[in-house]
Amino acid sequence: MAGVTLSEVRKAYGGLEVIHGVDLEVTPGEFLVLVGPSGCGKSTLLRMIAGLEEITDGTIAIGDRIVNDVPASQRILSMVFQSYALYPHMSVRKNLAFGLTNLRMPRPEIERRVAEAARILQIGELMERKPRQLSGGQKQRVAIGRAIVREPQLFLFDEPLSNLDAELRVQMRVELANLYNRLGTTMIYVTHDQVEAMTMATRIAVLSKGNVEQVGTPYELYNFPRNRFVATFIGSPKMNMIDAVATSGTAAFDDLGALPIAAADGPVSIGVRPEQVAIGGEGELTAEGTVSLVEYLGSEIFVHVRLASGRTLLAKADGKAPHKLGDRLPVAIRRENLHLFDAAGLALPRAA
């Protein structure tokens, strides 16, 4: 088991820099998820850790060893690719054994490890098949199997579940979480799906445009986002954002009323999560609006409430609530549930 330390890591393709000096500390044995929108550099970062991509500047260390110049094959890590990247001409068994044969491991040891992986992933009956004879989920298991036989000090995953259908994705998510609990090896997992990130991670690093925006536990990111980007990226459905202008210690949030805030004069914004927009409850900010859409999810509903100003607030309510299209509803937000952001989008201390 090993940690990973990235310091001031940069990557440029030609003249174009896509990773802008990333510092990241992955502690041994943690499940770190790199999450961010498409094109933000998650794969690039992961591939630099793997050794598949050169580092333009900075250092990457696995354990105590700086690996900038260590080839991928000697970094003692495993990687699961989005495309699975199974060798199409080899049976499942050979796919699993390939890396171990390259390490000149003795036969019996290879067989033991392959059998063990087959047992953990329940792919015993598939061992003699070729990859093209497998379903997506089975291919995924084999790809994970190929990663675990190596007994690496570090696992890397690049969107391993994104080619699976929704149901299988949920199932594999659980299996991966179980696998992690069982092996306890350091894992770095890339995804653009924040639900995957929230459910699996011990810590999440949120990336945007080649920068790390925030690193923290799912709880920290959800409850204490450091900036607007993290606030809106984490959480589904998205946090409500309301812009305002602060003048001498207060800001008016149109229909919702005004609040004293601890911010310098200028544009500010507040964010509030849908479950904290109370329908008919108490709060320092209140307004009345018309229901413009109801999304029914069974245990809960998402109510879109259009205020007089034309702004729509998203509120989460119990699945049994009777709200329907066109209803007039009062909404209320408690001050302690507000996230306040300054003009640059940085979080200010919780609404004072």
């Binding site: 000697q74 990247a85 199409p88 390939f98 190929r146």
Partner: protein, 297 residues
């Protein structure tokens, strides 16, 4: 039916010149040569039916036929693998992403266009002459080159080199095949600690097998049929000492130097059968070493 023909008459009209050509210039001569192979025919007198005599003579008494077979087999056995290896090596270098790749591809393909031509064979003859450029170059590094063309120990090698030099078309096909191998398989192999040699034999070769097979069959057929180089360099006779007596050169001599058209026709049919047999063997063995990424097999 009538309507069908009327509707498609334009199509058939356009097809006609080719069809006439095909029947007159291909099928006709093929059938004629099959008939002639059972006759004695010297162009001047009408062909005389002699049954299997041509074939019997060929397989029991004709030493030059045996020599021609041995020269041709040697040539095929050396030049085809050498050419394929060279073509693959160049393709792999080009695949590594050289700038202005279009230019390089054109440059590398050029010999293939030129290579079959008479002019290049003549040029080759100049190059490998005892006083030619090759020996002049060797002399600058202190090596006394042999009589490449006059010494039967070397003459065939000059033709092998000429054949390998025409690596352009298999190279382009290899290049396309290499481009079709997904990059992430190489990355997976890298993570799986496979070195370059292991990656080549465990990933590249098996995934390229259909392309290798295709090139092998094509080049083998071409090598069996190769003619102009040997003809020009040997002065049309297969000299020195019949060391360049390619099957096709022998056939040409029988037909047009000695006007033994019946015998030449028999030779042609035997060559056809040899090529067909080797192609069949290649196809038959392919199921043991060619992996197709399709639902079948």
């Amino acid at each position: 039916m009538h309507k069908f023909i009327r509707r498609n008459i334009a199509g058939y009209a356009f097809l006609l010149p080719w069809l006439v050509g095909f029947l007159l210039l291909a099928i006709g001569p093929i059938l004629a040569s099959l008939y002639l192979s059972f006759t004695k025919y010297n162009v001047i007198n009408p062909p005389r039916w002699i049954g299997l005599d041509n074939y019997v003579f060929m397989f029991t008494m004709d030493d030059r036929f045996r020599k021609a077979l041995s020269v041709t087999f040697t040539f095929v056995a050396i030049s085809v693998p050498a050419k394929l290896c060279f073509a693959l090596a160049v393709a792999m270098v080009l695949d590594k992403g050289i700038r202005a790749i279009g230019l390089y591809r054109a440059l590398f393909y050029l010999p293939s266009i030129l290579g079959g031509s008479i002019a290049v064979a003549i040029l080759w003859r100049q190059l490998f002459n005892y006083d030619g450029v090759i020996n002049a170059l060797l002399r600058t590094v202190g090596i006394e080159g042999p009589y490449w063309l006059a010494d039967p120990n070397y003459s065939l090698w000059t033709l092998v080199v000429l054949a390998v030099w025409q690596f352009g078309s298999p190279m382009l096909i290899f290049l396309a095949g290499l481009r079709a191998i997904p990059q992430d398989l190489y990355e997976a192999a890298e993570i799986d600690a496979a070195g370059p040699v292991r990656t080549f034999f465990a990933i590249t070769v098996p995934l390229l097998a259909p392309v290798i097979f295709f090139n092998l069959v094509l080049q083998m057929i071409e090598a069996f049929k190769s003619f102009s180089g040997a003809f020009i360099i040997s002065g049309g006779t297969g000299a020195p000492l019949d060391s360049l007596l390619f099957y096709t050169v022998y056939l040409f001599n029988e037909a047009f130097s000695f006007l033994r058209m019946g015998y030449a026709s028999a030779l042609a049919w035997v060559l056809l059968i040899i090529i067909a047999a080797f192609t069949a063997i290649a196809f038959w063995t392919s199921k043991y070493w060619v992996h197709y990424e399709s639902q079948r097999g």
